[in-house]
């Protein structure tokens, strides 16, 4: 059992939903990102989705696009992001880390080399938003072989047939995209999301995390109560420090508060 599986077991035991915080590393500088992750973990994030910035993040909304742009301008590279995992681990951070990036990054580095590096650095899995199940072979297998999870996504538009295909390959958890849109979109109605959770839970016991558009404690509460095993919050955090880019560290208290609130929303799990 790895850190990720242990984390879910632990949370289940405590009747809590998981709170994964999504961060694009290096925005606006490495020091801040490291501190940001620490703050999040200390204030309620159960796990970290660590984004390696990509020049053309097509699944991301304006907030994360700007984050990628700033990080790249600041000179962040995939290698530095991977080193960051090691740094976090050496600071004693135990939260599972899922590396997120667009497929071209591991493709260009060499997929195997990429997996080996992040594994060695201390990550538990990878999430590649532009690698649907059709393209995941042979990468999914390679990931498992290296002892990592490949996190697959499921969307409101996913058909029942594909849902089953995806769940068959699911490892670690499945990432339910709450809405049709990009990261940072506003989650207006949860009815589609709730139906999605029901559908997925009917077919699998793999944990199901819900992401996209979650920014408030109530969002988390509703989703967790509907059966989700956790929520992912990303742009909502970036939005806070985005307004204080001169000295983003000043934003950390507010982010801490927000993380705490979200985690509160994950706590009342009724099962």
């Amino acid at each position: 059992m790895d850190l990720l599986e242990m984390k879910f077991q632990d949370l289940r035991r405590r009747c809590e939903g998981a709170h994964m915080a999504h961060v694009y590393y290096g925005d606006p500088c490495e020091e801040f990102s490291l501190k940001l992750v620490e703050t999040l973990v200390e204030n309620g994030a159960d796990m970290i989705e660590l984004g390696i910035p990509f020049s053309d993040p097509i699944a991301d909304g304006p907030i994360f696009q700007a984050a990628c742009e700033r990080a790249l301008k600041a000179g962040v590279t995939p290698v530095k992001c991977i080193q960051a995992i090691r740094k976090l681990r050496s600071k004693g951070i135990q939260a599972p880390i899922i590396v997120t990036t667009y497929f071209n990054i591991p493709y260009v580095m060499g997929f195997t080399r990429f997996l080996e590096s992040i594994k060695e650095a201390g990550a538990q899995g990878i999430l590649i938003p532009d690698l649907p199940i059709e393209e995941a072979e042979p990468y999914g297998r390679m990931t498992i072989e290296k002892g990592l999870h490949m996190i697959l996504q499921i969307a409101p538009t996913t058909s029942k047939t594909r849902l089953k295909m995806i769940l068959e390959e699911a490892s670690g958890f499945v990432y339910l995209i709450s809405l049709e849109g990009v990261t940072g979109s506003r989650l207006k109605s949860t009815s589609t999301t709730l139906r999605l959770i029901r559908n997925v839970k009917a077919y699998t016991s793999v944990p199901a995390m819900v992401g996209f558009g979650i920014s408030k404690r109530e969002n988390a509460e509703t989703l967790i109560q509907a059966g989700a095993d956790g929520v992912v919050v990303g742009s909502a955090y970036a939005k806070i420090y985005m307004e204080k880019l001169d000295n983003p560290f000043e934003a950390l208290p507010e982010i801490a508060k927000q993380a705490y609130e979200i985690k509160l929303g994950c706590k009342n799990r009724s099962f």
């Binding site: 053309d56 097509i58 071209n104 260009v108 580095m109 393209e135 042979p138 969307a155 594909r162 995209i177």
Partner: protein, 391 residues
């Protein structure tokens, strides 16, 4: 690694959100395209609305200038002024039959955007067009036309404000509305099934070309030269000749100011395989896989990737990847103006420039066809500036 592969290139590298739309599109295309009803409607519109067949023109004066026979496949005469309508009409019809109510797309030179709103109006579909702010600026005439035709123009400010960024933005938009909206991809790029669909709709160019050259010369040409970025006009022209090994195929990309890293759009010259916008293809990128901005005066060639099929054909050696530099391109415009009274699009002028500047590739008895992909109306300002300085 499944569908829509051309050698190692192609694929469907998109968010799970979009998979249903791509699979639905693939199914619809395979089901609807071969039907007689679709064929009749499509080819009827291409003929009566688009003006097909476009002529194959023997450019006597230009031929004299270069010393061998040159024919121009006149896609500039297609309604809207470029080959783009072939594809736009096909996809708009398909979208209508799929029950979609709206078209979205991106455009750089504006030619594809224009073709899309024309096709959209014909089919009764609303049209929304994403365009980089820099392209909006330099292709003002096409922007105005699109507006007049009722398209909603969405300026894209992210990145460098060019085509690459507009494609990203359109994909993002599509993720939010793919049930009711069709993304009318403008070139043989993007995830499967787009490269196949676009090439299929554009292959009407090559089919006509083949018949016309056989009528005029009794044989296939020795060479076909086409410009391109995504590759749609080139593939359209090349398709029926791929198996005819005697026909040399030249693909001319935007060399830009110089081949230097920051001043070019020549992905075959200094690109490498990579994944962007849903597809594995030849790509301009840094060593980490970050996409490098492309640069060329021809907005329509200003894309850092080459579509998967043309990437494959070049890798295989079937198609020769070439480039022309901005300066050569403007000079080529001048030659075409003087010899044949035609002002080519800057994109098209890349193919012309290649023919003008590479005598070593052609012999006196050669019959060469340039796929004359578009007219230069949209580029008049830039051409004037080159010839007469800023005015």
């Amino acid at each position: 690694m499944t569908k829509g592969r051309f050698g190692r290139y192609g694929g469907m590298y998109v968010s799970e959100i979009l998979m249903h739309a791509l699979l639905e599109l693939e199914e619809a295309f395979e089901r609807i395209y071969p039907t007689e009803e679709f064929q009749k409607e499509f080819h009827g519109l291409l003929r009566d609305y688009g003006g097909r067949p476009t002529p194959l023109y023997y450019a006597r004066n230009f031929s004299k200038h270069v010393g061998f026979k040159v024919y121009l496949k006149r896609e500039d005469l297609l309604c809207g002024g470029s080959h783009k309508l072939n594809n736009a009409l096909g996809q708009a019809l398909l979208a209508k039959k799929m029950g979609k109510r709206r078209l979205i797309t991106e455009t750089a030179a504006g030619q594809h955007g224009l073709a899309t709103v024309m096709a959209g109006n014909i089919c009764g579909l609303k049209t929304e067009i994403f365009m980089g702010v820099k392209d909006i600026e330099r292709q003002a005439s096409n922007v105005n036309k699109m507006k007049l035709l009722g398209a909603k123009i969405k300026p894209v400010k992210t990145g460098a404000g060019v085509l690459k960024d507009a494609v990203s933005e359109t994909l993002r938009e599509w993720a939010s509305c793919s049930r009711t909206t069709h993304y009318l991809m403008g070139s043989t790029v993007g995830p499967h099934p787009f490269p196949t669909i676009v090439a299929t709709f554009q292959s009407v160019i090559g089919q006509e070309l083949k018949q016309q050259i056989l009528e005029k010369e009794g044989r296939v040409p020795d060479a076909i030269v086409a410009c391109g970025s995504g590759g749609s006009n080139a593939l359209g022209a090349f398709k029926p000749f791929i198996e005819e090994k005697g026909v040399r195929l030249y693909f001319v990309e935007g060399g830009g100011e110089s081949l230097g890293a920051e001043n070019s759009a020549a992905a075959f010259q200094h690109g490498s395989p990579g994944v962007l916008h849903g597809s594995l293809m030849m790509l301009m990128q840094d060593r980490w896989g970050q996409i490098r901005p492309s640069k060329t005066r021809a907005a329509g060639l200003n894309y850092p990737g080459r579509g998967p099929e043309i990437s494959h054909l070049c890798e295989e050696g079937r198609v020769k990847p070439c480039y022309a530099l901005d300066r050569e391109v403007f000079e080529a415009v001048g030659v075409m103006c003087r010899t044949e009274g035609l002002i080519p699009a800057l994109e098209t002028a890349h193919a012309i420039a290649y023919v003008l500047n590479h005598p070593e590739e052609f012999s006196r008895d050669d019959i060469v066809v340039i796929n004359y992909s578009g007219r230069g109306d949209k580029d008049i300002e830039a051409i004037l500036r080159y010839y007469y300085g800023s005015s």
